[in-house]
């Protein structure tokens, strides 16, 4: 969406008469992109779908808090990541231990009908899940989306240098994960 389109959309979002229709356009425009960010954190489709509902409800109820310091997608992305991480924390609190959660991921994914990767791809998800939050986000944005560090810097509000360092460390850890299993 261009900046002009976004400006018009923001104007419509601030008017009660046009708010709902404008928000529907927001959902249609950004839901797929946001879904994949959520899915990569929570891993299953059912959980991602639940989180997505929460993301947009939160965005709708906090529209007045968005003062356009960032792009609309950046704001939505941050809500999506926070909701996903909150979901995972609640899930982990219900499990026996963090080790149990992270080490069974590959097996659970292989049994998931909405995962059609092979065992190596499932193991990659397990390795990614073991990364600290920031490294995990940087790795997935760079490795899967090939996002430029300049764009990532705006999205994550972090310097490009820090992002490059995070990616370097994440790649190294995941490589070691696989080499230990070779």
């Amino acid at each position: 969406m261009s900046k002009d389109d976004e400006q018009l959309l923001m104007q419509q979002l601030s008017e009660p008469a046009t708010q709902r229709k404008a928000f529907e356009r927001v959902v249609r425009e950004y839901s797929e992109q946001l879904y994949w960010q959520v899915r990569r954190i929570v891993l299953t489709h059912e959980d991602a779908n639940d989180v997505m509902q929460n993301v947009f409800i939160k965005a709708w109820t906090h529209l007045d808090n968005f003062h356009q310091e960032s792009r609309l997608y950046t704001w939505l992305y941050r809500i999506a990541v926070n909701e996903s991480l909150d979901f995972m924390r609640r899930q982990k609190n219900q499990m026996m231990s963090t080790d149990d959660v992270d080490s069974g991921i590959a097996n659970r994914l292989m049994a998931d009908r909405y995962f059609d990767g092979d065992e190596t791809e499932a193991q990659l998800q397990e390795a990614i899940a073991q990364l600290p939050e920031v490294q995990r986000r940087v790795f997935t944005l760079r490795y899967y989306d090939d996002m430029k560090y300049s764009d990532m810097s705006q999205l994550l509000d972090t310097s490009e240098g820090s992002l490059k360092a995070s990616y370097h460390i994440a790649v190294k850890k995941i490589t070691e994960f696989f080499k230990r299993r070779d």
Binding site: E24, S31, H45, F178
Partner: protein, 139 residues
Amino acid sequence: MKMEHNDELYLKQKVGNRNPFRVPDGYFDQLTQQVMQQLPEREETVAKQLSITSQPRARKVQMRPWLYAAACSVLALAMGVSYYFMQAQSTSTDATPMAAAAPAAPANYTASDNSYIDEVADYVMMDNTEIYACLTENY
């Protein structure tokens, strides 16, 4: 950098960077409708936000009664001491035992000097509203 590039190359050759996740057919087509059906009416959400923003002050006081009790005690003591010194200065020839036993006022203290009270108030981190509430037992 070269080592990172080699590691990244190793991963892409071993695993690839294909998206292995799938969604049910037509999921994204119906997602928008599903989300819009769940959204509450905007008036309700504004009212809810207003009611939430009107609560924090009262909630904040209720959550720390012990702290406010301690702060009020310190403030009351400070005000009592300052009042005592004010009385001692204005009735310096009074021969009551309490006056005789009273410690000397600080050399640089005067009846109009409220900076001591201000210092105590700053120390217990109470603003004027909280001080008034404490003194009128409205907390």
